[in-house]
Amino acid sequence: MKKIYILWLRQVKKYIRSKSRMAGSLFQPLLYLIAMGYGLGSVFQRAGQGNYVDFLVPGIVGMNIIFTSMFAGMEVIWDRQFGFLKETLVAPMSRFNIMLGRTIGSATIATGQGLIVMLLSFFVGFRMPNIWMIIPAIIVMILISLLFTSVSTMIGSMLRDMQGFQAVMNFLIMPLFLLSGALYPLNGLPSFLTAVTIVDPLSYGIDAMRGLLIGSSHFGVGLDLVVLTALTVIFLWLGGHFFKKVQI
C-alpha cells in the first residue's frame, strides 16, 4: 500500500513542479469553451436545445480529462528512455501494483484538471441547478480518468518510442473526443454516427456528467456508470497485463 502511495506521490509532485504543463493544459479547454460556447450559443438556442455553454461544459471537462490522461503513457515511455523505469521494475513489488500506483497518480492529475476546468467555467457563465451534484460528478471524473490513463499506460507499455506513441494517440484521442457527443447532443444523429458514438467510451462519461450536472442524459446515468466501471476494470487489468511484459 505504502509503495503504491509513494509512486502516486511521485507522479503528483512531478506534476505540481511543472507549472508550464499545468498552464498549457488549461488554455485549450478554455479556448474551446469560449469560442464554441459563445460562437455556437445562439444557433443552439434557436434550435430549441437550451443554453450551449451549460451543455458544453461537461464535454470540455471530458476532453480535458482524456487529453491529460495521455500523459500517463508518455511518462512510461519517458521513464523507460531516461532509465528510471528499470529502478521500479526490479523492485520487490508486483508489476501490477507499480502500474496501479502510476495510473492512480496520473488519474489524480487528470481529475484535478477536469475539476479546475469545471470551476473556471463558472466564470464563462456555466450554471448548474444543484451545486451539490458536483460531488457525484467528481466520481464520474475519477472513473473517466482511471479508464483513459489505463488505456494510455497500456499503449505506453507496448511502444518504445515517443513518435509512435504520439501517432497512435492522435489516431485515438481526436476521434474519441469528436465522436463522444462532447460538442453536440446524441439524439437525432444520422444512424452511422449513432453507431459510432455508442461504442465510444467517452460518450458515457460525458453523458453521465451531463445527467448529473444539468439533468439531461441520453443513455441514463445508471447505464453510464455501469459501462464506465466495467471498462475501467477491464482496462486496468489490460494495462497491468501489458505493463508486466515490459522488458528493458
Binding site: 513542479r17 532509465g83 528510471f84 529502478e87 526490479v90 523492485a91 528493458i248
Partner: protein, 264 residues
C-alpha cells in the same frame, strides 16, 4: 548464490550472449570483465529479471528469474550502468522512494539515508533536483541509493564509471564491509583492471557473448603467461580478434564493437 547454465540471448539474428555457464558462491566477490559489447550488461539484465533469456537456466538465490521474478527481486540490489534516477525529484526524494519500494523500515531509512549521502558527499545537496547534478554526482547518488537496502546479492554494472578516486575508495570500503559483515555476494563489471584485480576473488572474462576464461586473477595470469591482469585481459580478448584475420577486417570488427558499445 548465482548459477548460470548455458544461458543465451538473441536480439533478432544477433547473439549477444552465447551459451555461458558459471557459478558465484555465497559471499563471493565476483568480477565480470569483457570488452564493449561483450554481453555483460545483457547478462546482468537477464539475471535481474529485466530481460527474458532465449535459452538456458539461471538460479538467483535458488530462484528462477523467468518463472519466479518476485522471489528473485527480493534477493538482490543493483547499480545500473545507464542512468536510472528521476531527474525531476531531489536527491533525498530519490533515496526515500527507493527505500520505500525496497521495504527499508522507517527508522533504518532515517538513519541510513543521511549516512549514505555523506558517504558520497551529497548531503549538502540533498534537496536539489537531480537534473541540476553533474554526471559524477548522479553516479554517486546512484551508488548511495544502491546501498540503501542490504540484499543478499548486489549487482554493480560499471559502478565506478565516471567516479572520482575518493568516491571509488569509499564505495569499495563500504562494499567490502558489507561483504564481510553481512556476507553479501557482489557481482560487478568494470573496465578498470586494477579494480578487478584488487577487489575480486574470482574473475570471468566474456567476449562476443562467450566466457573465454574464469578463475582467480593469478590463474588468468598464469594461463596467459602475463604479469598483470591488464595484459592477461588483452591476451585473452585481443587474441580472438587477431585470429580471425588481420588488416581491414580487424579494423571493421573494432569499429563494430565500438558502435555496438555505444548503443548498449
Amino acid at each position: 548464490m548465482i548459477t548460470v547454465q548455458n544461458l543465451s540471448k538473441k536480439f533478432g539474428e544477433f547473439t549477444a550472449v552465447d551459451g555461458i555457464s558459471f557459478d558465484v558462491k555465497d559471499g563471493e566477490i565476483f568480477a565480470f570483465l569483457g570488452p564493449n559489447g561483450a554481453g555483460k550488461s545483457t547478462t546482468i539484465k537477464i539475471l535481474t529479471t529485466l530481460l527474458q533469456p532465449t535459452g538456458g537456466d539461471v538460479r538467483i538465490n535458488g530462484h528462477d528469474p523467468v518463472h519466479h521474478p518476485s522471489e528473485v527481486r527480493r534477493s538482490f540490489g543493483i547499480v545500473f550502468q545507464d542512468p536510472s534516477l528521476d531527474d525531476d525529484l531531489t536527491a533525498l526524494e530519490n533515496m526515500e522512494l527507493h527505500g520505500v519500494l525496497y521495504d527499508v523500515p522507517d527508522d533504518v531509512r532515517k538513519r541510513r539515508i543521511p549516512e549514505l549521502l555523506k558517504l558520497v558527499d551529497l548531503h549538502e545537496r540533498k534537496d536539489d533536483l537531480v537534473k541540476e547534478f553533474s554526471g559524477g554526482m548522479r553516479r554517486r547518488l546512484e551508488i548511495a541509493r544502491g546501498f540503501l537496502h542490504h540484499p543478499k546479492i548486489i549487482f554493480l554494472d560499471e559502478p565506478t564509471l565516471g567516479l572520482d578516486p575518493q568516491t571509488r575508495n569509499h564505495m569499495w570500503t563500504y562494499l567490502k564491509e558489507l561483504n564481510k559483515n553481512e556476507g553479501t555476494t557482489i557481482f560487478f563489471t568494470t573496465h578498470y583492471m586494477e579494480e578487478a584485480d584488487r577487489a575480486a576473488e574470482r574473475i570471468a572474462v566474456i567476449d562476443h557473448g562467450k566466457i573465454i576464461a574464469i578463475g582467480r586473477s593469478e590463474d588468468l595470469k598464469k594461463q596467459t603467461n602475463t604479469a598483470s591482469l591488464e595484459d592477461a585481459f588483452l591476451a585473452l580478448t585481443g587474441k580472438t580478434i587477431r585470429e580471425e584475420g588481420g588488416g581491414g577486417l580487424d579494423h571493421m570488427r573494432q569499429m563494430r564493437t565500438l558502435w555496438r558499445g555505444g548503443r548498449r
